[in-house]
């Protein structure tokens, strides 16, 4: 695979020109990427093909075209690779009659992992108090944690999580993110698909954005934003003399629009770096106090919105 | 002081008439009909009810066709009459009720949408009555339609007015008999569906109970245990049907046990009432 932000050098999961269609509906189209140690966030609007992609990565779905490998093997041909890979699916894939402990122990037995890990996994997801209660009585967040524990107990090198933060409260979310972060620091490959963009932005080392079944962007969030050259940056500038500053800004080539709101200017620019050099000079020129210069759309949410609306 | 304003981005509240409880009931009834018949659903959900109805009506159409070709109604040429026709459609109704009962009661409970009904001007009894009414409409319609076809076909060939004048009681009798079959099967099927999470499982258990009761009670009545004739659940509607139609299509187990048809009717109504009360209790607990 040639080098690009969509691929990594030390890939553990490789997706090569993968497509998947269900009858007339194309869910994933000619998608190539790879995943390696660290946390990769997989983003996309509803119906973008993220879950389909993850299920192909796991081997639950066969690609209509292309290939997927985990640790160099096709998981559909060699189930032995599942000793080192685990999936936390989005759906409620639990056994309601089992207790959390029994469920995690079941995962351990099926994967051949040592039973001593059961308690560790339950403690890791903070389910000790409810470990011996049937899962049927669990809240959604608790079920999520039970699923995560069942995945962690096998000690996977590749951990795939489809919307793992659904139903969790902020404290549980922070706790789970710590777990994923720790795994990533240990050199494991963690792939997280999520709609909670702020959290993905916090934890992911890189993101892959999927829109309409195609890879829309890949890499660092800031770098993705910079790659969107056709979309002007929006910058917030807090300055004393807004009117004179606005007039000066409009005379430059890099600024396409300025909106004034009290002591704040909202500027659209095609060249953030250039604007960053010009603004302090202009402020000095009009003898105004510059108190803030902040890009407004370099967040993952903004990037995500641009990617979705570009289609 | 901070100010706020909400802009109307397109949401419009309902400004039409509020239909109230009767409207909600009617909507529930129509939804029940759709579920049972597979309407507004994928083709495969329609196949079974349509095939069953076609198989039920086909012999009637065939016999009417023969009568038309022969240009006369010949009782001998129609292989069986109204009473015997129920032998065919009764079994189909049994299977149909087994599958439809689960379709009506289980999805709402399992998918958690009972709470949606509870937030409307509907009581548990409304919900159950309307579900039962939609099942009754389809099952009784399905059972009675062939008789209507047979009746009209014979009337057409035999001099419409005179045939109708002489034989119109057949219409209400076959309708009544269809109702008896429904009352004999539906309450138990609905009770089992109300306690199951899977429609298929409920159907198998219901059919198992009905069929095993028939086989077991036949042997016991034969051995002299006449009172067990009351437990021949799948035999009572046929016995009552013969009573209504004044025919003798079959040696029914309750009949062999020495019971009068009225006893079978009482068993049907009692079991129906008991199952109904249990379904209400179960549904209230689940809601």
């Amino acid at each position: 695979m040639t080098s690009s932000p969509a691929t990594v050098r030390d890939a553990t999961v490789e997706v090569t020109a993968v497509s998947k269609w269900f009858g007339q509906k194309v869910a994933v189209s000619d998608l190539s990427c790879s995943f390696g140690p660290g946390i990769t966030g997989l983003l996309g609007p509803n119906g973008a093909g993220k879950t389909t992609l993850l299920r192909m990565v796991c081997g639950l779905l066969r690609p209509s075209d292309g290939s997927v490998t985990i640790l160099g093997v096709d998981p559909r041909r060699q189930p032995s690779v599942y000793a080192k890979a685990a999936l936390v699916p989005e759906e409620d894939a639990v056994y309601p009659a089992l207790t959390a402990r029994q469920f995690v122990r079941y995962a351990t037995d099926l994967s051949g992992a040592p039973r001593s890990r059961v308690d560790e996994a339950i403690t890791a997801v903070d389910l000790q108090a409810a470990a011996d209660r049937p899962i049927a009585g669990f809240s959604k967040g608790m079920r999520q944690r039970a699923k995560v524990a069942a995945a962690l107990v096998t000690g996977p090198d590749v951990l795939i999580l489809d919307e793992p933060l659904n139903g969790t409260d902020p404290v549980q979310r922070a706790h789970l993110i710590d777990i994923f972060r720790r795994l990533a620091d240990e050199g494991k490959t963690v792939i997280v698909s999520s709609h909670v963009l702020a959290e993905v932005e916090r934890m992911a080392d890189r993101v892959l954005a999927v829109v309409d079944g195609r890879l829309a962007a890949a890499g660092d969030v800031g770098a993705i934003r910079h790659a969107m050259a056709d979309i002007p940056y929006r910058v917030r500038i807090e300055v004393g003399d807004t009117r004179r500053m606005a007039a000066l800004l409009l005379e430059t080539d890099v600024v396409s629009s300025v909106a004034v709101s009290g002591s704040t200017l909202h500027v659209e620019t095609s060249d953030l770096a250039d604007l960053g050099r010009l603004v302090p000079r202009m402020a000095k020129q009009v003898d105004a106090r510059l108190t803030a210069f902040e890009p407004e759309d370099e967040s993952l949410e903004s990037v995500f919105r641009y990617l979705v609306h570009r289609r | 002081m901070a100010e706020g304003v909400v802009f109307d981005l397109g949401y419009r509240p309902h400004e039409g008439p509020r239909l109230g409880r009767s409207g909600a009931r009617w909507a529930l009834y129509r939804d029940g009909l759709r579920r049972v018949l597979g309407l507004r659903r994928r083709m495969r959900r329609k196949v079974f009810p349509l095939v069953l109805m076609a198989v039920a009506v086909m012999p009637a159409l065939f016999f009417v066709g023969i009568s038309v070709v022969l240009r006369e109604f010949d009782a001998a040429a129609t292989f069986f009459g109204h009473a015997q026709y129920f032998e065919l459609t009764g079994i189909m109704a049994l299977v149909f009720v087994a599958l439809a009962a689960g379709e009506l009661l289980i999805p709402d409970r399992v998918n958690g949408t009972l709470a949606v009904y509870a937030s409307r001007p509907l009581t548990t009894i409304d919900y159950l009555l309307m579900r039962t009414a939609s099942l009754a409409t389809v099952v009784i319609g399905f059972l009675w339609l062939p008789h209507l076809v047979l009746f009209l076909g014979r009337a057409w060939v035999s001099g419409f007015g005179s045939y109708v004048a002489d034989n119109w009681p057949t219409l209400w009798k076959t309708l009544l008999a269809s109702g008896v079959y429904f009352l004999a099967y539906a309450p138990l099927a609905l009770l089992i569906a109300a306690t199951s999470k899977r429609g298929a499982l409920a159907a198998v258990l219901f059919l198992g109970v009905m069929l095993i009761s028939g086989g077991a009670t036949a042997a016991l009545v034969d051995s002299g245990f006449k009172s067990f004739g009351l437990l021949a659940l799948n035999q009572h509607p046929g016995y009552v049907k013969d009573w209504i139609l004044g025919s003798h299509a079959h040696d029914w187990i309750p009949q062999q046990a020495g019971f009068e048809p009225i006893v079978s009717l009482v068993v049907i109504l009692t079991l129906g009432a008991l199952c109904g009360l249990l379904v209400i209790a179960r549904q209230k607990k689940a809601a």
Binding site: R62, S111 | T195, A216
Partner: protein
């Protein structure tokens, strides 16, 4: 081995847990009840004939198929519908091992319920006639018929959500009616596989069973061989489907 045992254990708990096992167990008591009551005051010979009349028929034509259909069709079908199939498939275990474990659990569950029913009925026969020779063979016959039913319904349950409907048509129309019509058709009847084993081991049953069921070629080893072949084919077919098909929940 640990994984295999774990699947069998959890699947047995799923199959035998809940209200349905109570209902199936109660249905299973019917042959015994019928036998006990209907053979009162009969001679030993008459009691034996009565056994092969209704109780035996109820056991093999109704109780066994209903149990096998309920348990067998839900074995893989429920995992798929509940979304837990991915939990099973994403394990370092060969597909045929997973399927075999599920089959073993379903077979044990079905056989336990129906064999207990048959055993009680056979003990009742023994109490009435003084002959307990039927107790062992009936358990074997149930085990054999249960194996083939469960294997076939397990495959059907995975293939379609209408497995129960198809199973019902097969059991109550094909098995209970059509296969009685012609000797040739008896060869494609699953419940007869177990009954032929029974007839081979209980010679006294051959004549009454021939009268009730039509042609019956007794043979315990042949029956077991048929059961092994059918079961193996069903398990391999299902394992192949798991390997080749997409694991989509319903």
């Amino acid at each position: 081995m640990r994984g295999f045992a774990a699947i069998v254990k959890v699947s047995l708990r799923q199959a035998l847990g809940g209200k349905r096992v109570i209902v199936l167990g109660l249905l299973g008591l019917v042959p015994t009840l019928v036998m006990w009551l209907s053979s009162r005051n009969l001679t030993a010979g008459a009691a034996a004939r009565r056994f092969y009349d209704a109780p035996f028929g109820i056991l093999f034509l109704m109780v066994l198929p209903v149990c096998a259909l309920v348990i067998g069709s839900g074995t893989m079908g429920d995992e798929r519908r509940d979304g837990t199939l991915s939990f099973l498939l994403l394990r370092p275990m060969r597909r045929w091992v997973i399927v075999t474990a599920k089959f073993v659990a379903a077979w044990v569950a079905s056989t336990t319920i129906v064999a207990a029913s048959g055993l009680l009925a056979a003990i009742t026969l023994g109490a009435r006639s003084g002959d307990y020779a039927a107790t062992g063979p009936i358990v074997l016959a149930v085990a054999i018929s249960s194996a083939v039913y469960v294997a076939v319904f397990m495959l059907l349950g995975y293939l379609t959500s209408r497995a129960v409907l198809i199973g019902l048509v097969y059991v109550f129309i094909w098995e209970s009616s059509i296969t009685f019509a012609a000797a040739g058709l008896a060869n494609v009847s699953l419940f007869r596989i177990g009954v032929t084993a029974y007839a081979a081991l209980v010679p006294a049953s051959r004549q009454p069973l021939n009268e009730v069921l039509g042609s019956l070629a007794p043979g315990a080893w042949g029956a077991m061989a048929k059961a092994v072949v059918i079961t193996t084919l069903a398990v391999l077919a299902l394992a192949s489907l798991l390997r080749r098909r997409d694991a989509l929940s319903e």
